[in-house]
Every structure is written in structure tokens, then in C-alpha cells.
Amino acid sequence: MSASIFPIPMWEQSLTLFCVILAGTTLVCAGALAYFRRVRMERPPVGTFNTRDVVILLIFIGILPFVYGWLPDPFVTCVLAVTFASALYIGYRPLLGSVGIWLAIGLLFGLNIWSSHYVMGTIPGWQLWYTEQSIVVGLSAIAVCNLYLQGGMKLRHVAWLSLGLAAYDILFASYYPLTGRLIARYITHPLTPVMGMRFGEVDYAVGLGDLLVYSLFFVAAYKAYGARAARIAAVVIVVMGGFATAFIPFLFNFTNANLDILIPAQSLFGPVAFVTYLWMKRHYGRERTMAEYLASQGGTAAAPQVEQAPAPQPASI
């Protein structure tokens, strides 16, 4: 969810929000791609991401706001801490080792909790808090993106997930504005799942979920069809996830100046991402498997040779 807090001239607000989304998205997508190309995560002996996982994920995402809404804030912080710590541990243990990653997590979380309590009264304080927040959220998005994609998630799954999230966003941002209420309640607490910055009196932020979907779409397109498809995905992300999300309030003026506004970014991005996937599928054909991707990069795993067995000949009887 993209949120801007406090009204200022709308064009300026939209432009700044666009820049914040663009910066955050660029950092996360580039980081996710770099990670995908260079780091191999451990995966379980058996299991690959499938369509049912998308459904389970959507159900989980659908239930989560109610759980957060029901839990007291300290419990929400605990849940978020476990979630972020898991993501960071899984994602960066291969790079930092067990001791290194726990030290890094302790440092990041410690700073974040400290700054949430002691430096929020000033704009530089807010900016420090957002910077820490953005580091945790950005690194987590990169890790989870790779966890899914290196676990076998395909562009097809990402497209369906985006479409599901579009419906989710419309429901929970417009008709039943639970997400906005949650953010309004929880913002300034440690480990708020947004990446953003404060300029002047206004906060500009992009949600962890949006960043995750953008990076999934971008890297999945790269894995499935290569660099050209990734560039097309990047354009879709910038136009629909960044520009449209930031400027739709300005163009249609549907903001309410008295409230924090929440722009349902996925409702704009999801359908276009899905159509883009359909176009890519039609244009480029079957997606590459992870094995085929690795083989194309000179990686270790060979592409699976799924030969069709010849029709058994009748025995001579």
C-alpha cells in the first residue's frame, strides 16, 4: 500500500511519492535480481511452488489484517519481529553465516526499536527511523522474493498472485478499509512494514507487499524469459506501480485531505501485470524452469531432460 500522510499540494505530493516508490522499487528489484543471479538459497529436499501455494498465500494475506487488528500492538511487533527475522535469516545466512546474520538482525532491530521510542519528535528523527525501516523492509523483500522464486515460483504464479492482490486491495483499501486503519494505528511502531521517507511534514511510503510483488514480477520475468522480458516488466512496474499509483490521486482528486490516504496500488498493477504475463506467454512460449535458467547461466543444475517414452511395443506373443 502506498500512503501519504498530511495534505500538501497534490502535484508535489504525487511527484514526491512517485520518486519514493521509484527509489524503493528500483533498490528492491535490483537487489532481488542481483541476489537471484549470485546467491543460491538452500531449499527443502522436496517441494516446488505451485498454484495451490498462491491460493494459500492469498488466504493467509486475507486473514492477516484481521489478526493484526485483533492483536495488541506489542504482539503485532513480536509477530513482525519473528517474520522479519525469519526472512532475513533465511535470506542472508548464506552470505553472513549464522553468527553474522544474528548480529546483523540484532543490530537492525535494536536500532529500529530504539529510534521508534527516542528520535521521532523531529524530522531528522523521522528520516533516521524511515532509513532504518527501509533497510529492514528492503532486505526482507529481497529475501522473500528469492525464497519464493528460488523455491520454484513462476511468472504464472506471480501474475495470479497480483490479480488476487488487486481484488484484495480493492476490498481492503476501498470497501473495507482495514489496511488503512492498521497503518494509521501502527505507524511509528517498530518494524512497520513500509519503506519510505518523510519530507517536510509529509510521509511518503510504499508497503512491503507492493515491493514484494514488484520484485517478484520483475525477477520472475527475468527467470522465465530473460533480460528483455525483465525490461518489459520493469516498465509495467514503473508505469502502473509507480506513476499511476502516485498520480491517480492527483488526476482524479479522490483524496480526502483530512485523512491519511491509502492508494490501492495492486488494484492498478495486478490486472496489467496479469495481461503482461499473458502476452509474454503468447509471445515467448513456455517459461524456463529453474534448472533451465541455471543451465543457461552455466550453473550447476542441468536442465531436466523430460523425454517422452516411446509408446511401448507389444510383446511378441
Partner: protein
């Protein structure tokens, strides 16, 4: 991926708690493995633990064995009339049994199984499929399986096979075993179905028919017995077929002794890396053994306990000594006609302590199977000659007499070895005598006509199955 995790958890929980496993859950895990292989080309980290279990730690291994034995014994005491009597007469409390304590329970022999087959059948499960041993060593024994076993075993087998890359979509398995071997045929057919592989059950048909299936039929896996493999190699060479004529990637044999010379010839002729020679036996399925690159026989720890018992004392065989394999399949893997401490009479040598350096070193092992206990030859000096020694020596003769046809007996303190003339063709008796001496066998040779060859030693390849196209079928037509 989430569902796969749940399935693995259910399987692990069932194995740990010793409850009946859900064959459908295992079958769906096979699908998950196939999807994993299609996406990644190989399974993920720790895949071997999923099939072999975390058995590297001897203490954990011992604990698992004790728990599994107690669970199995408790059920047998309640459901198997034969073992209820046996435990009572041995004054054994099934709830307190352990690996050391089971030596107080007499071994079960094949005669028990043949004399009172009904007493072995558990009363809490309906019998579904009967299978008989091939009876190559005497009268066949009948073993009944439940529907649960018939569904579970191939699912577990397929899971292990696809995880190890031994079978998968695109493979075509040709089976040249006796079609009456219901267990082997049923299990291999279902395993192939679950693994997405093709299946061609041919039976012990004329070798030329089988070669057609291997060459033009495009089989990638051959499952047969060593004696029939010998016939196939001979027939392939006679037909001028070589490695380029076949698509085989795996050769799997079992049920008889496979000699090194035949294995080498088969790999050259059919163009495979090696011949897999796993151990299995109808009476003790699903407990199996796997041969490693150093020719050890590694015994499955998850589904049963394998003891190597000294042939004379009945105590555990000492390092270097010969022993007979005594196997106890665990519940819930064996259900309908379970056996407890079944003496297979398959002889192996106990390996020296701490000698394993092979790729399966984490799994306990014995030597290769050396033959049946009642076919051992005892020389006056205390030396024991095993069937494997004889078969290895005979099958490495220059005439390549595969499968080995021989009769061996002790006469006046020496080995009298009877061979058909074809075995030493072009070699001469004296030269053959030197060949055996070089193999450590001081034998007196007796050469008989080739027409007597089949009567010297019966092999599983003798259980010919005729076809309308074969000459035998036309007799009496």
C-alpha cells in the same frame, strides 16, 4: 510447497509414531518429487535423509530399532497366532524387547512358514494378494499381503527411486522376471505408474524377444535375474548387438548371485555404467539391501532389522566370519503375514569393525551375499567354499559360460566340480584346473555333456514362459 511440507510432516510423524502410513500421502509425495525434479533438475538439500532417515548416529539407530522391535512384537503377540505362541514359550515380554534381547527368540525358518502358513497371518487385517517364493531352493512358501502393503510398498519404492534419480518420466522399465512373481510384478508396475515411467512386463521369454524390447522397444531400465541377464548378454552378442543399439541406463538384477565377470560383460554389451544388485526376498519384503561401489551389501534400517547370525552358534557373527541374514520387518511396513527374526539362509561375511569407506558408509553393511547356507562346501581343514566363489570362478572362464551351470560336492576331502563341456570349450581340462586354482579353488573337474547342463544347477532363467511365437508353444498344438 506448503502442502509438500505437510505431507512430509505426516510421513515423518507416521514413521516416528509407528502408525500405519497413508499410501496416498506417499504417492502424492512422489508427485511432489517429480514436480521438484521437473523444476530444479535435482532434489533439494538433505534428500537422502528423507529416504534413508537420519541414521548416521549409531545411538539414534539403536533407539529407533528398539522402539520398532517393541512395536512390532506387541502387534505380533496380539495378532499373529504363531508369534503369540513363540513369545510365550520363549518367555518374552514384547513391551520390553530390544536388539540384544531378541536373541532369546528362536529364528523363524522357511519350514515354519510352509507348515503353518495360516498361523502367520495377522487376524486384524484382511488378506488381499498371495505370492509364492520361486521355490528354486525347494518347495515354495506362500505369503499373503494386505491391500495396504500392496499400496504402500510401491509408493515408498517409487519415492526412493525418483529421489535417487533411478526412475522417472521418460523411462521405460522392462521386466524379465517370472510372471508368477506376484510381488515383484505388482510392485514394479505400481512403482512405474507412480513415477510416471512406462512398464513392460515380459516374463522369462526367449532372450531374443526380450532383446527386441530392449533394442527396438527402447527400454531404459531392465529388471531381471542374473541368470537371465547372462542369457541376454550371450544372445545380444550372438545377434551382433552392442551398446549403441540400446537406450538402457539402468540394469537391475536380484535373486541370485551376480558375478563380476557377467556384470562387466553386461555393462559393456548394454552400455550402462554398472549393474545394480540390490537384495530382497519375498518372505521379508519390504526390507531390502543396496550394493555400494565397494560391493558391500547395505541393509535398510528404516523398515526392518537385519542381523548377521553366526552359522554355528546363532550369536552375532564376528568380524570376518560367515553368517546368515536374519531379518525382522517392522510394523507398520509389514502388515498381513509378518515374520520376526526370519532366517533367510542367505550367507554373508561380517565386515571388520569401522571398515566402511564407501558412499553408503552411514548405513551398516555386510559383504555381498555369498550364496545359500545349505550350498556351502566345508573342506576338511575348516575352510568354507561359498557358491559365490564357484560362480565367480566358473563365469570368468574364457568360454564365458553364462549362467554358470555346475554341481559341486565334497568327495574325499576335495571339491568335485561338475561342469558341462561348453564351460571349458577351447580351453581344456588342465587349463581349467589351473584357472580354478588361481581363483583359490583346488577342484577335481568332471565334465559332462551339454545336454545335462540345465540339470546341474537350476536357475531362475529356467522358468521359461512360452509364447505362441516360440517353438515350445507349438509342441502339442
Amino acid at each position: 510447497m506448503f502442502e509438500t511440507g505437510v505431507r512430509q510432516f505426516r510421513l515423518a510423524l507416521g514413521m516416528t509414531q509407528g502408525r500405519r502410513l497413508n499410501p496416498g500421502n506417499v504417492a502424492r509425495l512422489v508427485d511432489d518429487v517429480l514436480a521438484t525434479l521437473a523444476e530444479f533438475g535435482e532434489p533439494g538439500t538433505d534428500a537422502t535423509e528423507l529416504i534413508d532417515g537420519p541414521m548416521a548416529d549409531p545411538a539414534a539407530r539403536h533407539e529407533v530399532a528398539n522402539r520398532s522391535l517393541r512395536r512390532t512384537a506387541r502387534r505380533l503377540a496380539a495378532q499373529s497366532p504363531f508369534y503369540a505362541r513363540r513369545f510365550t514359550s520363549a518367555n518374552i515380554d514384547p513391551a520390553k524387547i530390544d536388539v540384544a534381547g531378541i536373541r532369546a527368540i528362536p529364528v523363524t525358518v522357511k519350514a515354519d512358514l510352509m507348515e503353518r502358513p495360516g498361523d502367520f497371518r495377522c487376524t486384524d487385517v484382511p488378506a488381499y494378494l498371495a505370492t509364492r517364493t520361486t521355490g528354486t531352493t525347494g518347495r515354495p512358501a506362500e505369503v499373503w499381503l494386505s491391500r495396504y502393503e500392496v499400496e504402500l510398498w510401491p509408493a515408498l519404492g517409487a519415492l526412493a527411486s525418483v529421489l535417487r534419480g533411478e526412475m522417472g518420466p521418460g523411462d521405460l522399465m522392462q521386466v524379465n522376471l517370472s510372471s508368477r512373481g506376484a510381488v515383484a510384478m505388482q510392485l514394479s508396475a505400481t512403482s512405474c505408474r507412480l513415477a510416471g515411467a512406462g512398464y513392460r512386463p515380459l516374463g522369462i521369454v526367449p532372450p531374443e524377444v526380450a532383446l527386441d524390447g530392449l533394442a527396438e522397444g527402447g527400454a531404459t531400465i531392465l529388471l531381471t535375474v542374473p541368470s537371465y541377464l547372462g542369457e541376454l548378454v550371450v544372445a545380444a552378442r550372438r545377434a551382433g548387438l552392442g551398446a549403441n543399439d540400446f537406450r538402457l541406463r539402468r540394469l537391475v538384477v536380484g535373486g541370485e548371485v551376480l558375478s563380476a565377470s557377467l556384470a562387466q560383460a553386461a555393462t559393456r554389451t548394454f552400455g550402462v555404467q554398472h549393474v545394480d544388485d540390490p537384495y530382497s526376498m519375498t518372505e521379508v519384503v519390504p526390507v531390502t539391501g543396496r550394493a555400494c561401489s565397494q560391493a558391500h551389501q547395505h541393509h535398510d534400517l528404516n523398515v526392518g532389522l537385519t542381523e548377521l547370525i553366526d552359522l554355528d552358534t546363532g550369536e552375532p557373527a564376528a568380524p570376518g566370519a560367515l553368517g546368515t541374514l536374519v531379518i525382522t520387518p517392522y510394523f507398520p511396513y509389514r502388515d498381513c503375514t509378518p515374520v520376526f527374526r526370519y532366517d533367510t539362509r542367505d550367507v554373508a561375511r561380517c565386515l571388520p569393525d569401522g571398515s566402511l569407506r564407501c558412499e553408503l558408509a552411514g548405513i551398516p553393511a555386510t559383504s555381498q551375499i555369498l550364496g545359500k547356507a545349505d550350498q556351502l562346501l566345508y573342506l576338511p581343514g575348516g575352510e568354507v567354499v561359498t557358491p559365490r566363489q564357484l560362480i565367480e570362478a566358473i563365469e570368468s572362464l574364457p568360454a564365458e559360460p553364462w549362467p554358470a551351470r555346475y554341481r559341486a560336492a565334497i568327495c574325499d576331502g576335495r571339491i568335485r566340480l561338475t561342469l558341462p563341456a561348453s564351460a571349458i570349450a577351447g580351453y581344456g581340462e588342465a587349463e581349467a584346473g589351473r584357472h580354478f586354482a588361481a581363483a583359490g579353488l583346488d577342484v577335481d573337474l568332471e565334465i559332462v555333456g551339454n545336454d545335462q547342463a540345465a540339470s546341474l544347477r537350476r536357475t531362475r532363467s529356467d522358468m521359461h514362459e512360452t509364447t505362441f511365437g516360440s517353438q515350445h508353444a507349438l509342441v502339442g498344438a
